[in-house]
Amino acid sequence: MEQTKHSQARGGITHSLVDAISAFIVFAVGVVMMIDNYRIGAGWADEGPESGYFPFRIGVILCIASIVVMLRSLFGKKRNLEVFVSWERFKPVLLVLIPTTLYVLAIQFLGIYVASALFVGAFMRVMDRSSWLKTLLVSVGVNALLFWMFEMQFMVPLPKGPLEALFGY
C-alpha cells in the first residue's frame, strides 16, 4: 500500500482507469444480456412473464449501475489516481497466472495427475529453488495422495492421460 501511494500515476495505468474499463465491460455484458433476452421475449405471454423478462431487466440495471460507476471513476472528485498495480508487483501475479493456464491446457493431454505433478514441481524448482529430491518427493507425493483419495476412496473420476492408462486406469 505504502509504495503505491508514493509512485503516483507516472506511466502506469491508474486505479480509476481500470475501474472505468471494467465498468465498461460490465456495461457490455448488460447490453448483451438485454439483446439476447429481448430475442427470446422479455415481455408478457398469456400465462405470465416470458423467459427473458427477468434477465432483461437485470441487464438494464447492470447498464445503469455501470454507467454510474464509469462516470464516477472518470470524473468523480474522489477517484483513485494511484497506479493500479506496479510492474514489480504484477510480475509474480503473471508468474502464477501463465503457468496456471498452461497447466489447465496440459490437463487435457496428460491427465490431471501428471499435469499437477509437473505444475507443482516446476513451481518449486523455479520459485522456491528447492532441491531436485525435495521437488520430486512433494510433487509426486501430493499427487499420489490425491490419486488415492479421489480414484480409490471417493471414486470420483478425474481426467486421466497416457500414464494412468499404462497402469490400467
Binding site: 405470465g48 501475479v93 499427487n143
Partner: protein, 501 residues
C-alpha cells in the same frame, strides 16, 4: 418442549461414530483451509462439496458445516501469530492479537479468542435451536409473493450495507445474470447460451466460488508477496486455565459481541462487519478502551466472539427460510439442493432428522473444535512456515480438481481460471463478492418466486402490498434499498441547514 425433544433426537443422529469421525475430519480440514491463504470457508466447502455427492445428506452437511466452524476458528491463529488475517473476518483480531503475541502472550491471546469464538457460536446455536423452528413455522404460511419479498429484503439489505452501493448492485446483478445462463427452469427455454451446448447446464455456483475466492485470492496473495514470519505459539493447560480465570471479567463484552454477531448473521451483514462492530463497540464502552490496539485480551475476545456468532447465526435463515446469511452459508445451501433436499421452511417438517442432526452437531462440533484448536495450534502454525511457492501450486491443483469434479467438465476448469482473474480485479476495485455468490445461488429461486407471483396476480405489482405481511416486508426492503440515498440526503440537508445558519 417440542424443540428439546427434537434436539435430543438430533443428538442421537449426530452421535454415531461415523458422524463424529466426519466432524473431526471436517474441523481439521477447516482449520487447514482457514490457515492457508487463498483458501477460506466458501471455496473450501465448494471444493469438497463434490466429494459428498454420494454421502448421506446428514453426514455430508455435518462434515461441511464443520469445515466452516474450523475455518472460523482458524482465522484467529494467523491473525495472532503472523499478523496476517487468514480470513477477512479476523482482520479486527490482529489489532490486539498480534501485539499480545509480540509481548510473548500468544498463548493467552489464542485461548481467549478460541474461547470467545466458542461462546459466540454457542449463543448462536441456542438461538438457532429455539428461534429457527418458530421462524420456519411462521414461514410455512408464505406464498410466492411473501417469498419474493423476503428475497428482495435480503438483497436490498446487502445494498444498504455495502461501501459503494453501485458496485454492490453490479456484483449482485452479475450473479443473477450468471444464474440465468442455461435452461430456464420454468419454461425450459435456453437463455444466453449463444448456441453453445456446453452452457446448457448453466454455470455452476461452485465453479464461480472456487474461481473468485480460490484462484483470485492466490493471485492477490502473490501480488502482496506474503512472507510469513510468525511468533511461536505455546499453549499449555496452565496458560489455558489462567486465561479462563480472567474471562468472566469480560462477560459484558462477550454478551455484547455475541448479540451483535447473532444480529449481523441473521441479517446478511456478515462476519466481517460483525467483527469490526464488535471491536468498535467494545472499544467505545470498555474502561480500557483507550488501550485497545496495544494488546488487550478484550480486544481479541470482542471481534472473535462476534465473528463466530455471526458465522453460526448465518445458518438460521438458511435452515428456516432457505436464505443464506453469508457466502459460506450460500454454498452450503447449494449443497442442500445437490443432495436433493428442497431448502425452505418445509425442511423442518419433512427432513426433521437432517435439520436436528445438523443443529445437534453444531453443539458437539463446537466443543470438539475448541478442544482440537487448543491442543493443536503449534501444528497448524507450522503449516504457515511452508513456503508459499509450494503451497500456492498445490492449492491451485486442489481448486482445479474441485472445479472439474462438479460436472466432470473441462470447460469448468477454464471458467475457474477466468473467474480467478475476474475475482482478482473485482477485489482490487472493491467490488464485494458475497452478493454475487448469494444472488447466483438464489437467482433461480428468486426469479421463480417472482414469476409465480406475477402469474397469480396477472402482472399487478400491487400484489406485493396485498396483505400486511408481504406489504411490511416489501416496504422494509425498499427502505433498505434507498437507505444510502436517504441518509445521504438527510446529511446534506443538515449540512445545508447548518450552513445557512
Amino acid at each position: 418442549m417440542e424443540e428439546l425433544d427434537a434436539l435430543f433426537q438430533g443428538f442421537a443422529v449426530a452421535l454415531t461414530w461415523y458422524n463424529i469421525g466426519m466432524m473431526v475430519i471436517g474441523i481439521v480440514l477447516g482449520i487447514v483451509i482457514g490457515v492457508l491463504p487463498g483458501l477460506g470457508g466458501p471455496n473450501g466447502v465448494a471444493i469438497l462439496l463434490p466429494l459428498t455427492f454420494t454421502m448421506a445428506p446428514t453426514s455430508a452437511i455435518i462434515m461441511l458445516s464443520c469445515i466452516y466452524w474450523g475455518s472460523l476458528f482458524a482465522g484467529a491463529i494467523t491473525s495472532v501469530l503472523f499478523n496476517i488475517p487468514g480470513e477477512t473476518h479476523s482482520v479486527a483480531t490482529t489489532f490486539d492479537g498480534y501485539p499480545l503475541a509480540q509481548q510473548g502472550r500468544a498463548g493467552e491471546a489464542l485461548t481467549a479468542s478460541f474461547t470467545g469464538s466458542f461462546i459466540g457460536a454457542f449463543v448462536a446455536v441456542l438461538l438457532i435451536t429455539f428461534l429457527a423452528p418458530l421462524v420456519a413455522k411462521f414461514a410455512l404460511r408464505f406464498g410466492p409473493p411473501e417469498y419474493f419479498a423476503v428475497f428482495l429484503l435480503t438483497f436490498c439489505s446487502f445494498i444498504g450495507t455495502g461501501k459503494d452501493p453501485f458496485k454492490t448492485i453490479i456484483s449482485m446483478m452479475l450473479g443473477f445474470g450468471l444464474a440465468a445462463v442455461g435452461m430456464d427452469t420454468v419454461s425450459g427455454e435456453l437463455r444466453m447460451t449463444f448456441g453453445w451446448s456446453e452452457l446448457l447446464r448453466g454455470i455452476d455456483f461452485l465453479i464461480v466460488v472456487i474461481g473468485l475466492f480460490g484462484v483470485g485470492e492466490i493471485l492477490l496473495s502473490m501480488e502482496e508477496g506474503l512472507a510469513f514470519e510468525g511468533k511461536s505459539a505455546k499453549i499449555n493447560p496452565k496458560v489455558v486455565l489462567e486465561t479462563w480465570k480472567k474471562l468472566p471479567k469480560y462477560w459484558l463484552t462477550l454478551i455484547r459481541s455475541a448479540a451483535i454477531g447473532c444480529w449481523m448473521g441473521i441479517t446478511p451483514g456478515g462476519a466481517t462487519a460483525a467483527s469490526f462492530m464488535g471491536y468498535g463497540i467494545a472499544k467505545r464502552f470498555s474502561p480500557n478502551g483507550d488501550k485497545f490496539g496495544t494488546g488487550q485480551l478484550e480486544g481479541v475476545i470482542a471481534p472473535e466472539t462476534a465473528a463466530h456468532a455471526s458465522g453460526t447465526a448465518a445458518l438460521l435463515p438458511m435452515l428456516a427460510l432457505g436464505i443464506p446469511g453469508s457466502a459460506t452459508a450460500a454454498v452450503l445451501l447449494g449443497g442442500l439442493m445437490v443432495w436433493g433436499l428442497q431448502p425452505g421452511p418445509l425442511l423442518f417438517v419433512e427432513q426433521k432428522e437432517f435439520v436436528w442432526g445438523l443443529i445437534a452437531s453444531m453443539y458437539l462440533s463446537n466443543i470438539a473444535g475448541l478442544i482440537i484448536v487448543l491442543s493443536t495450534v503449534p501444528l497448524f502454525a507450522a503449516i504457515l512456515r511452508i513456503p508459499f511457492s509450494i503451497i500456492a501450486p498445490i492449492i491451485i491443483v486442489v481448486c482445479a480438481i474441485g472445479a472439474y469434479s462438479v460436472h466432470s467438465a473441462m470447460l469448468d476448469v477454464w471458467f475457474m481460471v477466468l473467474f480467478g482473474m475476474v475475482g482478482y480485479v473485482m477485489k482490487k476495485l472493491d467490488y464485494p463478492l458475497a452478493p454475487l455468490v448469494l444472488s447466483l445461488v438464489l437467482g433461480d429461486r428468486a426469479e421463480a418466486a417472482f414469476r409465480q407471483t406475477m402469474m397469480g396476480s396477472k402482472g399487478e405489482l400491487g400484489v406485493f402490498w396485498s396483505n400486511s405481511l408481504v406489504g411490511t416486508i416489501t416496504t422494509l426492503a425498499l427502505l433498505m434499498l434507498f437507505w444510502p440515498a436517504l441518509s445521504f440526503g438527510w446529511q446534506s440537508l443538515r449540512r445545508q441547514l447548518a450552513g445557512s445558519r
